[in-house]
């Protein structure tokens, strides 16, 4: 992921070897051992000493306009990572760069400016001010900046419309449902038009149906705004729906970074494999993953986008037995047939069951570097 190569994606935020140790922030660990020793062993020693290494040697990049999902069981350090990125907690060690500038070197003043203009954050339990109504809650960041009332009103009404809360401006948080409260949280974080958007388990406190609805809303908003996003969840299906790339964490360490399909198909270890075990293959595989090499594209074949998930392709396949041509960038790249889908699924199934048959799809090594 070298951002100097011409057509590589542009990096918005990058962190390198970030550590956060609670209790006993003890510096001695970080003088020499970090760069030389094995991070796992070092973390184990810290635990032995009574410290809590919440984030252990985590490195990753967030590209401009992508949704980067951090996933892991509760207590695995997700929240701490994202708070290190926004400097709500001070990392014990490591480097965080925002637009190539060293975030950890920023003074308090500069940091406040960055938060006022470049960052927004959404919290699991909303973090709304109970004494302010919806409008004032959303306007809070702008009020704190001392923006003129006219600009404030205009911006606030716009984001409130964006999250679909128009008409509820004068309600207080306690008068709203969980889903509505989180809409307020989202609107507030968007009011300053941030470039970088952090969401810490934004939908985990909501009922499944509402959660699904909010995910759709979120994707709709992101489709319009194209923010660079760090999204935390402990729900793999949620991650699957929205992630461009994701990172799986365990005990503070990043176990694997990659596109969702990589994680399902090539889990780095049993921990990741267990996470992905119940994921329906049809949702993970894309049409381009299940091409039938024996078929050639014929004129008159129906056409579909090659990035479509197999799940969404199935109904059409049922109608077009002869196969569907897959298009990418205006060109066809192959044909999918019912047989090729079944073959791919069967192969994956065998692979997961632990037989030696190689998976039908292999991607490049996706361990974090």
């Amino acid at each position: 992921m070298d951002d100097r190569t011409p057509d590589a994606p542009q990096v918005k935020l990058s962190c390198r070897e970030v550590w956060k140790v609670y209790r006993d922030e003890a510096a001695p660990y970080f003088r020499q051992e970090v760069s030389t020793g094995d991070p796992g062993a070092l973390a184990a020693r810290m635990r032995g000493d009574g410290a809590i290494p919440a984030v252990v040697d985590v490195s990753f990049d967030v590209h401009v306009g992508e949704i980067f999902v951090i996933m892991g069981l509760s207590g695995s350090g997700k929240s701490t990572v994202v708070r290190c990125l926004s400097r709500l907690v001070e990392p014990s060690h490591g480097e965080v760069r925002l637009d190539r500038e060293d975030l950890l070197r920023k003074s308090d003043r500069e940091l406040i400016e960055i938060r006022r203009h470049k960052m927004g954050m959404v919290f699991q339990s909303f973090g709304l001010m109970p004494h302010l109504n919806v409008f004032d809650n959303v306007a809070l960041p702008l009020t704190l900046q001392g923006r003129p009332a006219s600009e404030r009103n205009e911006r606030v009404s716009r984001v409130i419309r964006l999250v679909g809360l128009e008409g509820r401006e004068s309600a207080f948080p306690r008068q709203l449902s969980g889903g509505q409260q989180q809409r307020v949280g989202i609107a507030r974080s968007l009011a300053v038009e941030p470039e970088l958007w952090f969401l810490d388990e934004p939908f985990s406190a909501l009922d499944p149906l509402i959660r699904r609805q909010m995910q759709d809303e979120f994707l709709r908003i992101q489709h319009r705004l194209k923010k660079s996003i760090v999204f935390i969840t402990h729900d793999f299906l949620e991650a699957l729906r929205i992630a461009d790339r994701m990172m799986i964490m365990r005990d503070g360490r990043a176990v694997q970074v990659g596109a969702p399909v990589d994680l399902v198909l090539n889990p780095a270890d049993d921990y990741v494999a267990e996470f992905t075990e119940d994921v329906p293959m049809v949702r993970v595989l894309k049409a381009s993953d299940v091409l039938d090499p024996s078929q050639a594209v014929e004129a008159g074949m129906p056409r579909e986008d090659a990035d479509l998930s197999v799940e969404n392709l199935l109904p059409r396949l049922a109608r077009h037995r002869g196969g569907i041509a897959m298009m990418r960038g205006g060109e066809s790249i192959g044909v999918v047939t019912a047989a090729s889908v079944i073959a791919a699924l069967a192969q994956e199934k065998q692979h997961r069951a632990g037989t030696d048959a190689p998976p039908s799809v292999r991607r490049g090594d996706s361990r974090p570097g």
Binding site: F126, G127, M129, T143, S170, F172, Q175, F198
Partner: protein, 689 residues
């Protein structure tokens, strides 16, 4: 460790028994010899006069400076026509809570007018009106400081502990000496007495702001100042207002007490004066004024604290507040105009005053005479069968005159045998520790608490401290009791101990029983609640009045007054504890067939125990607070010492007793908390009230 403590305790009891039985045992072991008393009192006086020399002029200057706003407010309140004040107060009550409180306020103030205590009431109100904002300001600043800086917190918290346990009277002493007499002194005393609750609640409120809310503020780009004033403080406001409510009540009760030294034509002075002259009808009428003022203030501040933010209408909220202010001004002007036309609205005509003190006095006299037999019987029974046995022991109490028969040798032997049998049984069932406690009680009831050897008492309490709070509490207990012994106030301490202990025992028993009833029967609950509310907001020494009226001066009256006040937390906590037993536990128990009785005894009570123990803690604290006030009606304990010190302007005497009481209160507090915590840990519960 436990076992060793048990045996130590048994050893102490045995030693004590030997000591009190052995005829002519070393008398220095029974009563602490006067020659050994360390002249702490003297030192304190020397120290104080040094302080007065040093800081006196500055303090007097301050007092003079504070006199200016004080007088201004006083005159303003006296200048306002009563009808205007009445209208404004009623409107504020309506705005804060609704028409019920408004009606209550209206009648309460009307009472003050009609009874003819208007200007006295306004003088007292002036004191509160000045001291509450001052106390809240100081309290908020210190609370915020304690929140921001750990080091400051480490100093502030223990200081508050001490300030809040030193009896109210004892505050007056140093202030009296430093600032002299007068109403300003009352104000200073009440500020000092009243600010701690605001400190505590401010700190608590600020530290309870959810972390995500603070993080949201940070992410919104708040500076340090913005974070404090626009995120933390509004979020903590409710808790802070709760503190303001408590501060108001404390300031109010102190204003009354302060009139002992600074009384000038205010309502507290009126109560005191009439009580000293044994004009109980008059003092009851004045006392009711105080109680009404306290209740109105409590309800208004409490309503403000629990008020929801304005209902939807959003940005109109500010306007709504302005609207209320406008209405208030309009109303005031209107009524003032009316008052200038109708003079009786300006100044209530004396001819219209209703002052039924004489009828009250006659009525009371009639009751006392008519029911003299019953009253005497109650008094005698309580005295001979409950109070004296604890104070001087069965040994001296049982005579033909009191109990109707001689305490003959066989009877004494019978008591000893009975006690021994009980101790043996407990030793087998519950172990040596419990048995030695029972033995201690048995010995105490026989010889009386005032005749027990001081080393044994000291050793027992220290061991108890160790049991309940570990070595640190034991050390603290030893230091506190050592101080009282060495300072030469041990006999008074024992007297306080006896009165307070008895009151706690009785009110805790009665209160818990009532609480259990109230938790089972909604009718009882609805009946008890308003009585509790009233008792709790009543300034302490108003509670004394009705008891003095009927039972006259004496220890029994003091006991009743203490009980009346201390029973409230016992009822409250036990009802709350039983009602908040988790519903699923109760459902589960009902499902496998518990009867109502079994449910109560086997399920609810054990689970409620930690909170009930917290209630015991509060019962003790309330009793100690009332103990000092009860000294006014003739008790001979530490409370009386404080009072004597105050009367003679003897700083040392009053202070030793005041600090001693504070120590006892703190030790009792830690011990009962230890008890509650032990319960809690056993069940893996957390007590929260």
């Amino acid at each position: 460790m436990r076992r060793r403590l048990d045996w130590l305790q048994a050893g102490v009891v045995v030693a004590m028994l030997v000591l009190v039985l052995a005829p002519g045992a070393a008398s220095w072991l029974i009563a602490y010899p006067a020659e050994w008393v360390v002249p702490i009192t003297l030192w304190l006086n020397v120290f104080m006069s040094w302080c007065v020399d040093l800081a006196g002029p500055a303090c007097r200057a301050l007092s003079a400076a504070l006199g200016v706003p004080m007088t201004a407010v006083r005159e303003l309140l006296n200048w306002l026509p009563w009808s205007v004040t009445l209208t404004l107060a009623t409107f504020v009550a309506w705005a804060a809570s609704g028409w019920r409180l408004a009606a209550f306020t209206f009648f309460a103030i009307l009472y003050m007018v009609v009874i003819g205590y208007w200007s006295e009431s306004m003088n007292s109100l002036a004191l509160v009106a000045i001291s509450v904002p001052a106390a809240v300001g100081i309290g908020f600043a210190l609370g915020a400081l304690a929140f921001v800086s750990r080091r400051a917190e480490r100093i502030i918290t223990p200081t508050l502990d001490l300030l809040q346990t030193v009896p109210a009277f004892a505050y007056l002493l140093p202030i009296l000496l430093l600032f002299g007499f007068g109403p300003v002194v009352g104000m200073i005393a009440s500020v000092l007495y009243a600010f701690p609750p605001t400190v505590r609640n401010t700190r608590l409120g600020l530290s309870r702001v959810p972390p995500e809310v603070v993080e949201a503020g940070l992410m919104a780009g708040a500076t340090r100042n913005q974070l404090f004033w626009r995120v933390r403080t509004p979020n903590a406001l409710r808790q802070i207002l709760l503190g303001v409510n408590q501060t108001t009540m404390a300031a109010f009760s102190m204003v009354i007490i302060a009139s002992i030294i600074g009384g000038t034509a205010d309502i507290g002075w009126e109560v005191l004066l009439t009580m000293r002259k044994a004009l109980f009808g008059e003092s009851l009428l004045a006392g009711i004024v105080i109680a009404l003022m306290a209740m109105v203030m409590d309800r208004i501040t409490a309503a403000a604290a629990s008020a929801e933010p304005a209902p939807p209408g959003g940005n109109g909220r500010l306007r709504a507040r302005h609207r209320n202010a406008l209405i208030a001004v309009g109303l005031a002007l209107g009524v003032a105009l009316l008052a200038s036309l109708l003079p009786f609205l300006e100044e209530y005509p004396e001819a219209w005053e209703v002052y039924p003190a004489q009828y009250l006095n006659d009525f009371i006299t009639w009751i006392v005479v008519e029911h003299a037999k019953t009253i005497n019987l109650i008094k005698r029974c309580a005295f001979f069968f409950v109070m004296l046995p604890v104070k001087t022991g069965l040994d001296q109490t049982v005579t033909p005159f009191t109990w109707g028969f001689e305490f003959t040798a066989p009877l004494r032997a019978g008591y000893a045998l009975l006690a021994a049998a009980l101790v043996a049984w407990v030793a087998i069932r519950r172990g040596i520790g419990s048995a030695s406690l029972i033995a201690f009680v048995a010995i105490m009831v026989y010889f009386g608490i005032t005749r027990l050897p001081w080393p044994a008492m000291l050793a027992m309490t220290v061991l108890l401290g160790w049991r309940l709070g570990g070595p640190r509490l034991a050390l603290g207990t030893a230091a506190a009791f050592g101080f009282l012994i060495v300072a030469g106030v041990w006999p008074q301490t024992l007297l306080s101990f006896y009165l307070c202990g008895l009151a706690v025992l009785l009110s805790f028993t009665v209160g818990t029983a009532l609480g259990i009833l109230a938790s089972e029967l909604d009718g009882v609950s609805a009946f008890v609640r308003p009585i509790n509310d009233t008792l709790q907001t009543m300034p302490l020494f108003v509670i004394l009045i009705p008891f003095v009226m009927i039972f006259k001066i004496g220890e029994f009256t003091a006991l009743l007054a203490i009980m009346a006040y201390a029973v409230v937390p016992a009822i409250r906590y036990s009802e709350h504890a039983l009602r908040s037993v988790p519903a699923d536990v109760v459902e589960a128990a009902t499902c496998f067939g518990c009867t109502r009785g079994q449910l109560l005894w086997r399920v609810k009570l054990p689970l409620a125990m930690p909170v009930i123990m917290l209630g015991l803690n509060q019962t003790i604290m309330f009793a100690i607070a009332m103990l000092v006030i009860a000294a006014l009606v003739g008790t001979n304990g530490l409370g009386q010492q404080v009072y004597i010190g105050l009367g003679d302007g003897d700083f040392g005497v009053g202070m030793v007793a005041g600090i001693g009481m504070a120590f006892i209160a703190m030790i009792a507090d830690r011990m009962t908390q230890g008890l509650s915590r032990a319960r809690e840990e056993r069940f893996g519960l957390r007590a929260e009230v």
